[in-house]
């Protein structure tokens, strides 16, 4: 099955800083998703981004499918951005059921 690797594993920021989270995947994919798990455990779907760039407020994501990576940008971070960010790619070719990376744990200090 596909391997999904995320970096960095941990990240600590001061409020207002920008950051980039990376997701590498071992095979070509037809979809890629980013999720945020808040400190209370709730998992929220942030982006479905098989290729190209999308923006949602202070967050944006870019997937370069040919080079097998995706980036999540967080600008002007806020304490509410804290939590774990997961990327997920399909389990196998043609599947839409995601395999999750191990996540990037983000702490934003006030």
């Amino acid at each position: 099955g596909i391997q999904v690797e995320q970096s960095p594993p941990d990240l600590i920021l001061q409020e207002g800083a920008n950051s980039t989270l990376r997701c590498n995947f071992s095979d070509s994919v037809n979809n890629l998703q980013w999720f945020h798990q808040n400190p209370w455990g709730q998992l929220i779907n942030l982006f479905y981004i098989p290729s190209g760039t999308k923006q949602n407020g202070r967050l944006s994501a870019t997937t370069v499918a040919t080079e097998r990576y995706s980036l999540l940008y967080i600008s002007s971070s806020q304490t509410t951005d804290s939590g774990v960010y997961f990327c997920a790619a399909p389990r196998s070719g043609g599947s839409y059921i995601p395999t999750f990376g191990r996540g990037t744990s983000l702490i934003v200090h006030p």
Partner: protein
């Protein structure tokens, strides 16, 4: 209106007991899933049902049995609970395809 709801939110039980976790979605999605999240936050799929039919059954002990009475419900029954079953279990649903993948709020299971 909660889109994917799981009950209970917390479950503390003794080794050897049998317990169930319920999941319901009101999104009209065709596919439902159970994920297990371990203490290191790793999310691993356990089961997936599409329109009440099992389509994925990962390497999960047969003490775990999913049941889908209709496409809006996917329950998880666990027999003979073991200490290693302690984890957070998430239910999720999606329409056909990768869009709108929605998780429930999780059930924290602690086996003592």
């Amino acid at each position: 209106d909660t889109a994917v709801s799981q009950t209970p939110k917390y479950l503390v039980t003794q080794m050897g007991n049998d317990k169930s976790i319920k999941c319901e979605q009101n999104l009209g999605h065709d596919t439902m899933y159970w994920y297990k999240q371990d203490s290191k936050k790793f999310l691993k799929i356990m089961f997936s049902y599409n329109n009440k039919e099992l389509i994925i059954n990962e390497t999960v002990p047969n003490r775990f049995s999913p049941k889908s009475p209709d496409k809006a419900h996917l329950n998880l029954h666990i027999n003979s609970l073991e200490l290693g079953d302690s984890a957070v279990y998430f239910c999720a649903s999606s329409p056909v395809g990768p869009y709108g993948y929605t998780f429930g709020s999780g059930t924290r299971l602690t086996v003592v």
